[in-house]
């Protein structure tokens, strides 16, 4: 039912790629879960590449657990009642991973000198955002903490299930390292009434910041959808790394990560094309 491309490119200005990505499709393909995280990469967040990896790992595990324990026969008592628990669990488990990592890898003398504020609260050095989606047959859950973008394409229409947070200005963002991060998660629970979306795109803010405005960025999602229909999956898979590199070099100059989830059923042309290319 779904085909996924996950790609991440390092900023030309960063020594390390601080973004992370991960997805999971179970054998029965009953659902898919995807996650991207953007380690802050600022001077204070010198371990954010580790923090972002922990974030996507914790989210994927929790979404899997969530899917198996919540069948959502009753919508009202379903997700709306459990989202706070999900946020708390993700935040707490990420914190535990960070504290364990710190216990096994204490700050080096060089790291200790970077910032006295971080020395007193070492979790800050792992700071990261987190975006994810759990896509099932009957519903989709979108989740976001901090900046980044989730776009949904239905035919020729692009929507944002979670609107941009107007409280975040300039490069300010919420982070998993915030003490009260669990209260800053935003969710959107979408029961699927008609068709599933054609494409769901999750990306770190390095992508949207490469465009002069949001309309131009949203056109990219439409372009991907058209390319998928016209050229097939392999074409995108073969080229996406180069496209993303070009985008960041001529745009934000930031690490750039995108996960694209394409709906495959009722898309015979794409499947046919895919088969031809593969062969």
């Amino acid at each position: 039912m779904w085909q996924i491309i996950a790609e991440s490119v390092k900023s030309p200005n960063h020594p390390l790629n601080q973004d992370a990505k991960k997805y999971f499709i179970p054998k029965d393909k009953e659902y898919v879960v995807v996650a991207v995280a953007d380690g802050h990469g600022s001077k204070k967040c010198f371990r954010s590449n580790v923090g972002s990896e922990f974030a996507v790992e914790v989210l994927i595990n929790n979404f899997r657990q969530h899917f198996s324990s919540n069948k959502f026969d009753n919508l009202q008592a379903g997700f709306s009642g459990t989202k706070d628990n999900l946020a708390k669990t993700i935040h707490r488990q990420w914190m535990e991973k960070v504290r364990n990592h710190l216990a096994n890898n204490p700050f080096s003398p060089e790291e200790e000198l970077i910032d006295v504020k971080v020395l007193n609260n070492q979790v800050i050095s792992y700071g990261t955002t987190l975006l994810g989606a759990l896509i099932a047959k009957n519903y989709i859950i979108y989740l976001q903490l901090g900046d980044g973008d989730i776009l949904v394409v239905n035919d020729k229409e692009v929507t944002r299930p979670i609107p941009k947070d107007e409280n975040l200005i300039a490069n300010e963002t919420y982070s998993l390292c915030d003490k009260e991060a669990d209260s800053l998660f935003r969710f959107y629970y979408q029961p699927v009434i008609g068709q599933l979306p054609d494409l769901i795109l999750l990306s770190t803010d390095g992508y949207s910041n490469s465009f002069p405005n949001d309309n131009e960025f949203q056109k990219t999602a439409l372009d991907y959808n058209n390319l998928y229909k016209e050229e097939g999956m392999s074409f995108i898979r073969k080229n996406i790394s180069g496209w993303l590199k070009d985008t960041t070099v001529h745009g934000s100059g930031d690490d750039l990560t995108a996960i694209l989830v394409f709906k495959t059923s009722e898309n015979e042309s794409a499947t046919k094309r895919e088969t031809n290319i593969t062969n």
């Binding site: 009202q76 709306s80 669990t89």
Partner: protein, 435 residues
């Protein structure tokens, strides 16, 4: 992300009027909410997902529309709209005004209401649910997602009223919101009722005042995954109040539950004792605090508000004052507060601050707590700035008896000086000024 209705779509109402769908506002577990208009007047329109558009829900809505709102704080269903083509339906309700913010915003500290506004919101909340329950209804899902308040005035609006049923209705689709549901529901022993509403109301008031859940302390801090067994234990099988005086196993943990620790120091003894009772005796249905007791104590909280010289709001703690003879220390500047003049009416003690208003419920104990049409306000003497007085804003004259026994009358619009020992007869009650 709307899926059910289109912008500019026109829906008929009873074959007479029509409703214009203007724009999508949001989505919830049961359906989608749109801004709509009828004859140019704005409303909110909720439309149910097909799976939720049951005949039970429809007849329940019809019943609620027939009964009408318990008071003007409820954004109550007004008209039912149906779409015969696909057998779905929705309802029209008043539109929530933009100055009303969610309790979620309070939790996230996006809004910083005054303590005064919180106390007023608490009074309105208790009063509103008292009226709903008096009508034989049960809200079923009191939680902070359903309450909105004006952080300036403390006025409230209560949303999501379509799940309200008659008390005792065993409708199983809405069991409430985790963290707000009563322990007996968490344990699977009961359905929502007025008794369980009272528990949820106590949790909501606790969240509002302490910005924290009453049962989330040390036990919560140990949880690794907030799954069903963990939740059932914490909120159902072994609930312990974080400030239970006899059971200290669940105290808030510094660094995790800092709000609870900080706010516990700010509130006066009487309100803390009420919350202790609500989450010790009140963990069982027969020990719940009734709405009226919440209302009166929230009003008392309002009456005990004082300002420190640094400008911070504090609460006078009469219990502490009577025991130690000392005023409370300001939570902000850490200096002792100065007690302002007080008005004592019967058992009630009202702090007289520069912005204090005396309302009808203060001077007539038979009147319901409403924060409108004040009967008195504090005035400063135009020449002698150290002299303060009450201006009579009511339509009735007051009789004032000085400490020496001299009688004078204070006509509407006139002032009486706030001098120690004078008594003011407001008509139904008499108050004494303490300076």
């Amino acid at each position: 992300m709307n899926q059910l209705l289109k912008e500019k779509q026109i829906l008929p109402i009873d074959g007479k009027d029509s409703c214009l769908v203007e724009r999508f506002l949001g989505s919830g577990g049961q359906g989608e909410v749109y801004r709509a208009s009828i004859q140019g007047k704005p409303y909110a329109l909720k439309w149910y997902f097909p799976k939720q558009a049951t005949s039970e829900q429809k007849s329940s809505l019809e019943n609620l529309i027939r009964i009408g709102a318990p008071n003007n704080k409820f954004l109550w269903p007004k008209f039912l709209l149906t779409n015969p083509k696909n057998n779905t339906f929705g309802y029209i309700m008043p539109l929530r005004l933009p100055q009303y913010k969610g309790i979620n915003d309070l939790m996230r500290r996006k809004v910083e209401p005054t303590f005064k506004a919180l106390a007023i919101a608490g009074v309105h909340l208790a009063n509103s649910f008292s009226k709903l329950h008096a009508n034989g209804l049960c809200y079923r899902d009191i939680s902070f997602g359903n309450l909105f308040f004006d952080p300036i005035t403390g006025d409230i609006q209560i949303c999501d009223n379509d799940n309200v049923t008659t008390n005792g209705n065993p409708l199983v689709t809405v069991l409430g919101t985790p963290r707000f549901t009563a322990p007996e529901i968490v344990r699977g022993e009961a359905h929502p009722s007025r008794d369980t509403d009272l528990f949820s109301l106590a949790v909501l008031l606790h969240y509002m005042l302490f910005v924290h859940h009453p049962l989330e302390g040390e036990q919560e801090a140990k949880i690794h995954a907030f799954d069903l067994p963990a939740m059932t234990k914490l909120y159902g099988k072994n609930p312990v109040y974080i400030y239970d005086p006899k059971n200290t196993t669940n105290r808030p943990v510094a660094g995790i539950h800092d709000n609870a620790i900080a706010f516990w120091k700010i509130y006066p003894t009487f309100i803390k004792q009420l919350f202790i009772r609500a989450f010790t005796d009140g963990l069982k249905p027969n020990g719940r605090i009734m709405e009226i007791e919440w209302r009166d104590n929230m009003a008392r909280l309002y009456d005990n508000l004082i300002y420190c010289r640094c400008g911070a709001e504090n609460f006078h703690d009469a219990t502490e004052y009577e025991t130690t003879g000392k005023t409370i220390v300001c939570w902000s500047c850490h200096k002792p507060t100065i007690l302002p003049p007080r008005l004592k009416i019967g058992k009630n003690l009202i702090m007289i601050n520069v912005d204090t208003l005396i309302y009808p419920f203060h001077v007539d104990l038979s009147i319901s707590c409403e924060f409108s049409d004040p009967v008195a306000k504090v005035n400063q003497h135009p020449q002698n700035k150290s002299l303060w007085g009450f201006q009579n804003l009511s339509k009735d004259k007051w009789t004032v008896i000085s400490a020496e026994g001299a009688l004078t009358e204070v006509l509407p619009g006139k002032n009486v000086s706030l001098i120690n020992g004078i008594r003011i007869n407001f008509g139904k009650t008499e108050g004494v000024i303490q300076v």
